[in-house]
Subunit: 410 residues, 4 copies
Amino acid sequence: MRIVLAYSGGLDTSVILKLMQEKLGAEVITVTVDVGQKDDFEKIEEKAYKFGAVKHYYIDAKEEFAENYVCKAIKANALYENAYPLSTALARPLIVEKLVEVAKKEGAGIIAHGCTGKGNDQVRFNLGIKALMPEAEILQPVAEWNLTRDWEMEYAKKHGIPVSDKIYSIDENIWGRSIEGGVLEDPSIEPPEEVFEWTVSIEKAPDKPEYVTIGFENGVPVSLNGEKMKLLELILKLNEIAGKHGVGRIDHIEDRSVGIKSREVYEAPAAVTLIKAHQDLEKLTLTKWVIEFKSIVDSKWSWLVYNGLWYEPLRLALEGFIDEAEKAVNGEVTVKLWKGNAIVVGRKSDNALYDVKMATYEKFSTFDQKLAKGFIELFGMQSVLAYNMLHGVHSTSNISEIKEAIKTLE
Amino acid sequence: MRIVLAYSGGLDTSVILKLMQEKLGAEVITVTVDVGQKDDFEKIEEKAYKFGAVKHYYIDAKEEFAENYVCKAIKANALYENAYPLSTALARPLIVEKLVEVAKKEGAGIIAHGCTGKGNDQVRFNLGIKALMPEAEILQPVAEWNLTRDWEMEYAKKHGIPVSDKIYSIDENIWGRSIEGGVLEDPSIEPPEEVFEWTVSIEKAPDKPEYVTIGFENGVPVSLNGEKMKLLELILKLNEIAGKHGVGRIDHIEDRSVGIKSREVYEAPAAVTLIKAHQDLEKLTLTKWVIEFKSIVDSKWSWLVYNGLWYEPLRLALEGFIDEAEKAVNGEVTVKLWKGNAIVVGRKSDNALYDVKMATYEKFSTFDQKLAKGFIELFGMQSVLAYNMLHGVHSTSNISEIKEAIKTLE
Amino acid sequence: MRIVLAYSGGLDTSVILKLMQEKLGAEVITVTVDVGQKDDFEKIEEKAYKFGAVKHYYIDAKEEFAENYVCKAIKANALYENAYPLSTALARPLIVEKLVEVAKKEGAGIIAHGCTGKGNDQVRFNLGIKALMPEAEILQPVAEWNLTRDWEMEYAKKHGIPVSDKIYSIDENIWGRSIEGGVLEDPSIEPPEEVFEWTVSIEKAPDKPEYVTIGFENGVPVSLNGEKMKLLELILKLNEIAGKHGVGRIDHIEDRSVGIKSREVYEAPAAVTLIKAHQDLEKLTLTKWVIEFKSIVDSKWSWLVYNGLWYEPLRLALEGFIDEAEKAVNGEVTVKLWKGNAIVVGRKSDNALYDVKMATYEKFSTFDQKLAKGFIELFGMQSVLAYNMLHGVHSTSNISEIKEAIKTLE
Amino acid sequence: MRIVLAYSGGLDTSVILKLMQEKLGAEVITVTVDVGQKDDFEKIEEKAYKFGAVKHYYIDAKEEFAENYVCKAIKANALYENAYPLSTALARPLIVEKLVEVAKKEGAGIIAHGCTGKGNDQVRFNLGIKALMPEAEILQPVAEWNLTRDWEMEYAKKHGIPVSDKIYSIDENIWGRSIEGGVLEDPSIEPPEEVFEWTVSIEKAPDKPEYVTIGFENGVPVSLNGEKMKLLELILKLNEIAGKHGVGRIDHIEDRSVGIKSREVYEAPAAVTLIKAHQDLEKLTLTKWVIEFKSIVDSKWSWLVYNGLWYEPLRLALEGFIDEAEKAVNGEVTVKLWKGNAIVVGRKSDNALYDVKMATYEKFSTFDQKLAKGFIELFGMQSVLAYNMLHGVHSTSNISEIKEAIKTLE
């Protein structure tokens, strides 16, 4: 029996690694996918072999993550419940893809992961595996074997698995960092400063603002301060710059896939900055009809990805919409990073429906007036009529005194 | 011929006041509605009589504005295009109501206002008047008589109407301040510090944060830092406090009713703070189903009000929804005001779907695991199936090796 | 141990009734709620006692069903996936309410029902019970004890429970009849004539049409052919009349709550006729803004009720919208019933936004022309601009040859 | 001065043709685009020259209309306000395209058409011309010169233009026929039989039904009764077959672009049949998530096309969604045409999410039961909690009597 295990090097997956050998007599192949978490991957590999892995894979998927996953999220202004940039949610399908690749290559019929039965990640892992490799068995030991933290701690000690005493549960990738547990579970209490690593406090942020200019092509960031660069590089740089100014902290009440509400805290300096800039550029370059409809498309996209429905055909259809719409989203946006704020202070674009409009605006100024009259009349006709009827008021004056008066003026 | 004129005391309406007497021989009754603009109303009255008004009305509608208009906007999280709290838009129907009251009382058949033919306010004024008093004639001299700024200036000089040299066009009420014109028309340029009056710059904001706690009942703010107060008072206080911390500046590209895109700059310290707090409390107290649907209801409400469709029956229907939903929105939210940021750092409520959930969460922890399994399976069934079919992969294994193995473990 | 059982008198619930006594030693109280199914309720009572019920309740809830459930469905134009009038789905929460009433009165801590684990009704029963009586245990023997049809048949024979040989599984109430099973499970095969009881085939329908006129007040049917009557009576009559003309057969692919697609066949003569009439009257009396938004509200309402979320706060909020909107839905609609067709051929209303419009239409005819010009210009401005920009075409002609020419004509 | 005129050969456009020569001294080039209207095109050409056209174009665009316009409408299930298949609305942008082609080829700077200022077509013509040829002047003589019917009649008589005495105003193309005017303007009166030409009355329809089977590929009809054919041919045949059975009459209240409600009557046998079949096949082949969202996309598409916003970027974005979604819409649908009814009685597809489901359904039958339990619990968790809290009921029983009892049974 061969099992592929998504291995982070932490307590849960180390215990599982050991346990699956012990209880199932399985050969376990460990896989660590690098999506930008700040880990020591050599140490993780060491651990994997130490705890009995027959083979270990380290897969650097950072660039793939930026190009094929984060890129789509930016175009979709992806903020689940208007707040969470989906960092963890976005990385899960990529990790699943890698696990399945290894499982197929290694002839393993079982894929295991360390998710509990209470969170969102089990939904993302399990549905991803079912989609990509329906013939695989999914093994979710924490849930299926009802492993409790206490039991795990004891088991770990027995088997020489190092047990950290950290209070918070962290997940990280280039698109953001999520912090759970401890005092954060009480939504009435302000998150203590110690939970943050990527962002400084407003107090410690520089007194002077810093301006960054982001260039977009087809809705995708392609340059920073005039310098062309790959999305991965741009995100890494922006995480640093914006984080230094305290930008990107998020604290809100979130509805998990499984129906539970929970208080969630994130840091996502690049994500917050880029999505603000992107949304602003859309307002300049997209028609009001596209903006209005795209906001529905965008939230549905976020909802699907958050809830593990990455492989649902609806995602591709939504992207069919988004890719077409984004063709006009070209230009540059300047963001001022200052004391926790990311403020868009300037934007320009060859596709601006604004600049051109300004030109024609002047041209219109002589006859625009009559245009508006007709517009208002027809635009509001039904509403006015309905209100009048409901309140029993009716227009009676066909011949108005003013018309005559105005004529004399003309 | 009697005309009721919405009179601000500024250049446009002073010119119109004079002009309507001169050209139409009209008796003009001026009306100034106080919705919180920081004007000298005695001086305005003086001016009105000086330029020939036969009668002047000053109407203090601040409390009515807070209770019947702003209140609804808070419950609807009203932000047009996710940015503009509708300050001016909200006040227009109230002003119209007052104009109509005066027109009826004074037997005037004509209502005049100073809007141009290019903006949003003409839509709001004209549709409001048509709804409330369809028998009235609407006179919009700037548009109908094609008055240009230059012509107005000259006319003003001739008639002793004072001409200010201010660059920006301002509209103010308790819910916000809008600034237009001058360099702001170029969306690529950062708004100069001089345009702001209600908010200090981040630089000048205090180094220490200030916490405010807002209490809500049925979605409406009812207390500040534990002290019960009327909405009007609460807003006025919060404008001051939040403004002092540089909170509430808005700068975005906006789609006007008439189809033009324009760059708009606002200050709205209380509005920004209260809507953030309100949205956060909704996440704690409303089910995910209500939150998701209400976001559609909310944006439609904002769209209607922005576009002058206050009297459209749809607004009342949307409020039917909102009022029912808001019954659960009770509790307190703590906001940290600091260097331009308004950060929600704590929330509590007897209606929290979170706290109770935490309790039951624990209870569930023993059997939740199987619940999630069934949930994931059925929740993702169609998506997985569709993906498998499309990619020609099919689940084949009915009898799995793992099931047997697991049994031995149990 | 006392159990309240939802008892239909059929095989499943009779087996359960017996089994719960035998296996659990329970005292079982049977409840049959009459929502218009064409059953012999005395016989059902006899059976209940025969198979060991300690007490039997027959509850006539037909009028309550019409007034408090069907009434809301009509106002919401309730058609799940544009097809199914929700007959069964609507009745479930009412039945649950009655079960809970009995359970509380009789001091029973357990409520049992005969649903399988594959359908929609288990969702509706279980969520309803959890909402109304969370302290109650829910017993769903077919699912929990894995009862198969074969096992049930054998058990029934052993215990003298009559076993019918009917192929189809039927559920009926005043709002419709659903037919499942047998050949209907193959969606490529036309439903055989034998499955229908409430509607004649088109062949056997009368050669001559029949006109019915339905009067509505606030969106609710209140009269038939000019005669005022209660909704229950109106529905019963209309089921007969429309059914006689072959109106009301439905055959479509439906997405069940649990994720399965299934082919469903229904008969609902009154429902189909009334909803058509109601929708038509809405088009006459509601503004286009309300119609457009209400269609979203309506489908969400249907979705909630279909999926057993009757007690979800969102339903009440949607009804807040609907009740407000329906205030204008007054008038009469004439429907022609003929050979399977229900065709709206006439409608009138004092609230018509049409008749009044016709009047003003004439008035407008002299100057409407310029109104439309301005409307079109502003309505289409952004779209035209965006298209021009994208295709590199720009308007260049400011002074047109035609303008001069036209002037000479004027 | 050269003018290109959209010429139908009817009274309006013949009068305009003459008038533009007379009043403007213009050279007029007439263009008749054949989109399937049942006209004598040779006679129209004769007339054009007789009334002074310097050149006449007859352009057969039927196939282009089917392939590039109707095709998209089918994929979008296009029914404006759930009723109107957009026949006229769809043809307008194609006609505009042809007019612009001719104008450019012939060096004409003006494009003229015969629309009044009250209807929808002016919006479609004018916005189309502005998009495709912004440098062109648009001449809309009926509106701009305020031509009344009486004046036109007199003018026609004077200039030998034949005046018909038909009561109804007709517009026709392969996708449908619209009938306006006369008694139809009273929405309370049933349309008289004489207005229909493409469909027989139910009375005269055959006593026996006729089955047609329509094959779809990527959402587009490609075969009729097993025979592959081009969409144009398929539509023409189906218009005949379905029309013969009285299928395709539409009568509803419609909201025009300009805000007026009007009663509209259409015949569209192929459109009604194909859209029904297409929608049914979608239910079989698309996931519930896609179906739900696509219904929003579809109505927005119809809304845009109805309102003349064919060139709005949003249309292309919506089609990006639709084209992706429709990849799964392959298969065959059988429709029974009978006495005015078009009833889908069978459907099959290799992409069916139903047939496969049936297979797996069986597989699930042993453990599905527990899956549903978990699903229901989590699916309804928040709703139940919210209801309980609101009504002050709380679950208290942690240890239930039944659990013990059930255990003894297992």
